[in-house]
Symmetry: C3
Subunit: 345 residues, 3 copies
């Protein structure tokens, strides 16, 4: 799709500086952009990269980079350039459909109800009692277990598995390889080894959730595992049974929640973070990558933590620095002992 | 399925207190139970939750919670209430079949031998020389590589991959997305980069093993990777080539065994634990979440360890606490030096 | 396939000692070998295992193990026995084909171009505009998104997903469950929660790369995520968007690269290593298992690091040892204080 700089400015409600008739046909990074591409810069420190770029058009924050500093370029001023740029990309480069119509190889159970306009790709299997709302696209090789409900305008990329009775809200995006609703890891020790504790709960995923590739979300043992609206899960994340993830929280790749963990709203978990069973992360807390929260521990709202076990990040940094000084401290103690106990001797 | 409290008591060999004719139709948690649901409580501290619950029937341990404390409820006394409850759930809510009969879209090689009663779902591919024993169910989109053997009454959920020559025992449960028998990570450095060390071993999985979603088990390089009977693997676990996991051990989500690790019997590995190559974890040892065992290290039988590298957990806790006191220790040393060397000066 | 010891010696250009007519029909480990198997030993410390082995033929390094020490065995002398053995295995036990011909159930878009000799397994879906070069094999249930390019003689095991526009070089091996080209984890906070930053870049994988089971490689946000030639990725690895992995680097299982990380050439990352966003690991650096590199940090060429955060391994080992002595240090300080401030009092 081609747009003029003026059209783009109007679309994102930005102020235009320079040539509004400039034709823009692509969205790019400063390094790879050509004269008909648009780029963005979100702070003054990247301004030079923008100036060096061949891009014809730049989205800039107010007060950063005058037209004279960017000769030959057209500027769109937006309060949040990254957000504005994201909207431009979404407008100019609409996502390719995952599936359109019901592919003739899709196996759809007779009692499944698919709204109009639902797309179902090749070799999809949809079991009895499934409901899929309008506008949703189901990629090739997906498996939708019986009695699952999928909301409006969801996108399931190829090869997603929903076990029975899973519920997805509207506009949920699920990437390839995800497994939602698998049995939780629940066993009871007995004289003859572990006995499986039946996992008869379910999974409820709210609106506008995105779930990365090969991520797994276990069903609750008796109740529901819940991922609230707006949550973003990266790739290879594990959500244990009965866990609750609050609205607009973000969990980075390879992080894992054991069973019955509680994650509040607007929480951020870095990559490879682990929360042991019954941990509780309150609203707005953040855990730096690889941090660990022991079983049953509470992380207070708004705190930023690091380490395994996690400590307040400022304290963790001091401790890490002092660990580096341990050899020096040991030597200091040795010298003190030499002095003190020799004197005393 | 509906049962009377008396029937349930008989089924689990429990002592009945209260109304044996009470009709039970569901199994629930205390929070979500209704009057025809059964719940369980495994210790006195959850007794109040049971009392508050709307559940009609409660499984309780001996000596905890008299009928008078739980007005209107029927009690089943069982030595291990969780285990008893698990048996009730398994009886009342039988698992839905994964596949029944051979679906017409399944591709089964002519030399594959499927016993009577084997269920094979849509779009399954079963290669030459495969043996599948009676009562086993193979979910949609599974791929069973040539010459693999699958024992009695196994359940492979949709989309499991077995590379060639993998052997599963009886009653093995494999969740969606698992890959069993993929090549181990074996390469030999050469002048022209890495040369692949062919991975021509296999994988042997014992009876009553359960394997979580998206878990990977590599085949041995020359011999077999072995997962002994009764082992439980959670989601996203990695079992490296040539590793051996002993009977009734349990490995939590995102834990990983590098190549040639040895895990004894009744070992417990927490989430995100990592065992480096040739590590050895003896019988009954436990590693807390995120612990790490360096290459070739031995963890002695029955010890409980924590940290990376792992230390005995009691020692690890002391060290963690003292790390928090490092700033204080540094200050103490500074004051000592001031005093001692000033005096000496 | 059967070969004489002499034929094997000629194939790997090794010196033969003993019976060149010995018939070899298998490749094995010392423990499981029989009289017609060949084994290898790469150092003197495993020589005794070779002597005890029933193997008829042993690949040994020069100067280790005379014929008299290994009675009845035939020896092949090779400078790098493991490499020589790998070549023998590859010669004697050729890998089974993943797919031959185009299976009748494969769905291949009309504009897709498949070179001669391409094998496509059952239930594969190949979208519009895909190019697949000669000799490549695509296993069952694979999904090849539109406009993807796959080079010569690649092997995609069953159930691999390539999103649109992914490029694989020649001789790339991709194991089951891999997802290549999924959206990166890019979101812009807004008043209404996260807004998706469109991920319109791609993934480029070089020649001779091998990618383990269930590994995920995200597409770049605007440019390409790149995995250079000769790289080996183990299972369950995460490569975040815009990351670059240099030639002949090896990344072990469950390691993860956040977005925009840079990995140089010949880098080795142990299992469960995590590199936070914009980290930079220079040529030849090594990170021990579970190590972590904070956001934006640089690890210098050739260094070996351990810990989270990673330190030079020798320093890390000293610190770990001293952490074990913390209780002792605290006691020393207490005794010093007692002495010093009592004396002073």
């Amino acid at each position: 799709m081609e747009r003029t700089a003026k059209e783009l400015a109007d679309h994102i409600d930005a102020q235009l500086e320079g040539d509004g008739k400039l034709c823009i046909s692509g969205c790019a990074s400063p390094e790879s952009a050509g004269p008909h591409d648009i780029i963005f810069v979100d702070s003054a420190k990247h301004l030079e990269a923008a100036a060096r770029s061949k891009a014809g058009c730049v989205v800039l924050p107010p007060g950063t980079g005058a037209l004279a500093e960017l000769p030959g370029k057209t500027i769109l001023r937006a309060k949040d350039p990254k957000l504005a740029f994201a909207r431009i990309v979404a407008w100019m480069i609409p996502a390719q459909p995952i599936a359109q119509g019901i592919h003739k190889t899709a196996i759809v159970a007779t009692s499944a109800k698919l709204a109009e306009g639902v797309g179902v790709g090749p070799y999809v299997v949809i079991e009895e009692g499934v409901h899929i709302a309008a506008g949703t696209q189901i990629g090739a090789h997906c498996f939708i277990g019986r009695d699952s409900h999928i909301g409006l305008e969801c996108k399931l990329y190829p090869r997603v598995t929903l076990y029975q009775g899973v519920r997805l809200g509207a506009r949920v995006i699920v990437h390839s390889g995800c497994v939602i609703g698998s049995d939780g890891f629940g066993f009871v020790p007995s004289e003859n080894g572990f006995v499986k504790f039946p996992q008869i709960g379910t999974v409820e995923v709210g609106d506008d959730v995105e779930i990365g590739a090969n991520t797994t979300i276990d069903r609750g043992a008796l109740d529901a595992t819940r991922v609230a609206r707006g949550v973003k899960l990266d790739n290879l994340v594990q959500i244990g049974h009965n866990s609750q993830v609050g609205e607009h929280s973000a969990i980075s790749a390879q992080a894992g929640l054991a069973g019955s963990t509680f994650i509040g709203r607007n929480v951020m978990l870095g990559g490879q973070v682990g929360i042991a069973g019954h941990g509780r992360i309150e609203d707005g807390a953040q855990l730096a990558p690889q941090s660990g929260v022991p079983a049953g521990k509470i992380i207070r709202a708004g705190t930023i933590m690091f380490g395994s076990p996690a400590r307040p990040i400022e304290k963790a940094k001091v401790i890490i620095a002092l660990m580096g000084r341990l050899p020096d401290l040991v030597e200091k103690i040795r010298r003190l002992e030499e002095k003190v106990f020799q004197n005393a001797g």
